[in-house]
């Protein structure tokens, strides 16, 4: 396997959104990457600086997250319109994210109207040092869910229902970013792990994995 390492530079233009959002949010994005497997471009959407640092940090730690761009979302019309256009125009792009409830509601519905595939959606809450997660995953990403559970500190084994509800400690965000960044859910990469030292996010979030 040939290994290529590259950085995704701050302000890197990618499609119709980049000029708008990167410019507006002044968002830094950086990634490191692999490799020989043919990959679809990866767009990482986050709400706020904290999620950007922790979730995107987890995603970009994945060896296969190479061609990643990180964008900070909001639920304003300008951003949502730009995302809508991008969803309709792009093909073969993976979009993962951890965003606030308002943005998440909009993004998931835009994915539907654009005809995109939704492999994963999750509702997450961290409060009082514990976290709760409600996950809805396709069979294709079930392994991704297992990876998330395995990497999240103190994650309880869920009951086997279609809507997974599970509990974990407050340290779950890097694991989620790492798990969702994989283009081949469940594939193991030697020595690759999400960052273990990360700030604990509190509050409510929505996660997703979309394929255009």
């Amino acid at each position: 396997m040939s290994i290529e390492r590259r950085s995704v530079l701050k302000g890197m233009a990618l499609g119709g959104l980049a000029g708008l959002t990167l410019g507006q949010a002044g968002l830094a994005s950086a990634g490191q990457a692999a490799e020989a497997v043919t990959r679809k471009p990866l767009l990482v959407l986050v709400s706020g600086a904290e999620a950007e640092a922790v979730f995107a940090g987890g995603a970009l730690a994945h060896p296969a997250a190479g061609h990643a761009t990180v964008l900070r979302t909001d639920h304003g019309l300008e951003f949502i319109s730009a995302l809508q256009q991008r969803l309709k125009a792009s093909s073969g792009e993976r979009i993962i994210g951890l965003v606030d409830d308002a943005s998440g509601t909009l993004i998931l519905d835009l994915a539907r109207s654009a005809g995109a595939r939704l492999h994963w959606s999750g509702q997450h809450v961290t409060e009082g040092g514990q976290s709760r997660h409600r996950l809805s995953v396709t069979p294709d990403t079930a392994a991704c869910g297992h990876q998330f559970m395995a990497l999240s500190e103190g994650c309880a084994t869920p009951s086997a229902t279609e809507d997974l509800i599970l509990a974990a400690s407050h340290q779950w965000v890097p694991a989620l970013g790492f798990a969702l960044a994989s283009p081949e859910p469940g594939r193991r990469y030697l020595r690759a792990t999400p960052p273990t030292q990360a700030a604990a996010l509190t509050g409510h979030y929505v996660s997703f994995s979309i394929e255009t």
């Binding site: 409830d101 308002a102 519905d109 595939r117 809450v125 409600r134 279609e162 509800i165």
Partner: protein, 523 residues
């Protein structure tokens, strides 16, 4: 394509028959317009109700681009007895979103039927297809420099006039009662025939979008919030944009002011001094749309204490009630009406006016002003961040526009919500003589215990309001059958008699507004 094992099937339909139907849909619509993969269907299964997602999982989703294709879909559904749940833009957040009423129904998504067929600037009329969004129409009006303005619901930009009107949604301008402004529908009936209401059936007629009634029975209303046909075109009226729009807010400091507010507003509204659908919004609604989250103030479970509500009110410069109105017309007309409003307020002796200049571009005033001026925005989605967790159900009882009635509804709703550990996040939208009392029951779907409480709360709201003679005008798919009962057995029998006559195979949206031949027994 070889036969596959479909994970979700319509009730009573076997794998083999369903596969045959899917193949026929593919032949009719093309492969790309027939979705059966789980990852393609998952976006249609996103709900905000206290149900399991699986209860609302579709078996397939199909998209049509022409009326003929819609007719073809109906024909196939009849042949295989497949129930079909139709959506236009599918933005019915908090009322069921895009998900079908019950598991196994296929979705007919009309998002690709998105042509603006006609806009007549002189008459102020439009004719559109189901997938047209308000943003699309707004852009069209701007690009063509037309002297018109839109009225829309809060998800404005991404929602559409046809779907909103067919579900009898409301907006915030003088044209805010959308069904009142509807003029002419085209519908595909369950037998595949295409029916046009009003003047639409007359060969060569040009009055379809200007004269509602036509000849003989006028049936438009029968097709709204109903499952008797699939609307493929709808006409409606647009307001001519006036030279002056003057939005303003009146803040009232105490929650007990609601009765006086309504008594103050009613004559101004009925007499068209204030012509728009006025909003009287509670403090948490306003705080949420201004970006406040509950966790900014407390992490304690349960209802947010009144002391915190007062603190938010103070911190964010809000009223306990925030009344949003606008005046429209020439400078002279607006000046006259402004003097009447300010004079009446002086007489009331309470309430603080905030003008657009005084608001200075702050939220929530700015998005409210946009809604009253016909400018799309998405600000109101901030409601979902108040508590977080993805649970939202609109509880929307109607009342007379009388102070005592609104006071009673507000007190009752808050008591029940707080009892279940939830908050009153509500507003009154003032029609001419009615109030749409709209409450967002927000809860955390990651918390099974809270989800159960929200469900119990919604049931209790329905029960207790009904005991006092109130009912909701619209509800999410989980509670449609329950709400239909509020309106009495005669109405239900009549609705099912019509259903039996128009759609004997029960294929069009069974369950919508409680109309479902497979479940109804009270003949």
């Amino acid at each position: 394509m070889s036969e596959q094992n479909y994970k979700v099937l319509p009730t009573g339909v076997e794998q083999g028959d369903f596969h045959q139907a899917i193949e026929k849909f593919r032949a009719l619509l093309g492969d790309e317009n027939v979705l059966v993969e789980e990852a393609q269907l998952k976006p249609y299964n996103k709900i905000m109700m206290p149900s399991e997602d699986a209860e609302h999982a579709p078996s397939a989703a199909v998209t049509a681009t022409t009326v003929e294709q819609v007719q073809g879909v109906v024909k196939i559904c009849n042949e295989f007895k497949i129930p079909v749940w139709t959506v236009s833009t599918g933005r019915n957040f908090g009322y069921g979103s895009t998900a079908p009423h019950h598991r196994g129904q296929i979705i007919l998504d009309l998002k690709k039927m998105n042509k603006i067929l006609e806009v007549d600037a002189e008459l102020g009329t439009a004719l559109v297809e189901p997938g047209v969004t308000y943003q699309q129409l707004y852009d069209y009006i701007q690009e063509n420099n037309l002297p018109l303005m839109l009225s829309f619901s809060a998800p404005s930009a991404i929602a559409g006039p046809l779907g909103n009107t067919m579900d009898r949604g409301v907006g915030y301008t003088p044209y805010g009662e959308h069904f009142l402004m509807q003029c002419g529908m085209e519908l595909v009936l369950a037998n595949g025939e295409v029916y046009r209401t009003g003047m639409g059936g007359v060969e060569g007629d040009k009055a379809w979008q200007v004269f509602k009634w036509g000849y003989g029975p006028t049936l438009d209303g029968m097709f709204t919030q109903a499952n008797y046909g699939i609307c493929t075109k709808m006409g409606f009226w647009l307001m001519h944009k006036p030279p002056v729009i003057k939005p303003f807010e009146i803040q009232f400091d105490e929650e007990t002011d609601i009765a006086e507010i309504v008594e103050f507003i009613r004559p101004l509204r009925i007499n068209q001094v204030i012509p728009n659908s006025v909003v009287i919004a509670g403090v948490l609604w306003e705080a949420s749309t201004a970006g406040v989250r509950r966790s900014d103030y407390t992490t304690e479970p349960g209802a947010t204490p009144d002391a915190i509500l007062k603190q938010i009110q103070k911190d964010k410069h809000l009223g306990a009630w925030n009344v949003y109105c606008a005046l429209y017309g020439t400078p002279e007309q607006v000046e006259v009406n402004w003097n009447i409003v300010t004079g009446a307020l002086k007489q009331l002796g309470k309430g603080r006016i905030v003008t657009e200049e005084e608001a200075g571009g702050t939220e929530p005033f700015t998005y409210r002003a946009k809604l009253m001026s016909g400018v799309p925005n998405l600000r109101e989605f901030g409601l979902y961040n108040w508590r977080g967790g993805g649970g939202s159900m609109w509880f929307a009882p109607v009342s007379q526009a009388k102070g005592a009635e609104c006071d009673k509804q507000y007190a009752l709703a808050k008591e029940i919500l707080n009892k279940h550990g939830l908050d009153y996040v509500g507003e009154f939208i003032v029609g001419w003589r009615d109030m749409h009392h709209v409450i967002d029951v927000l809860y955390d779907r990651t918390n099974p215990e809270e989800t159960k409480r929200a469900d119990a709360c919604f049931n209790e709201l329905l029960d207790e309001f009904e005991k006092r003679g109130y009912a909701v005008y619209r509800v999410n798919t989980r509670f449609m059958d329950r709400v239909a009962d509020s309106y009495g057995p005669v109405k239900r029998r009549l609705e099912h008699t019509l259903k039996k006559a128009l759609d004997p195979n029960n294929i069009l949206a069974p369950g919508k507004s409680g109309i479902d031949l497979d479940k109804f027994t009270d003949w």
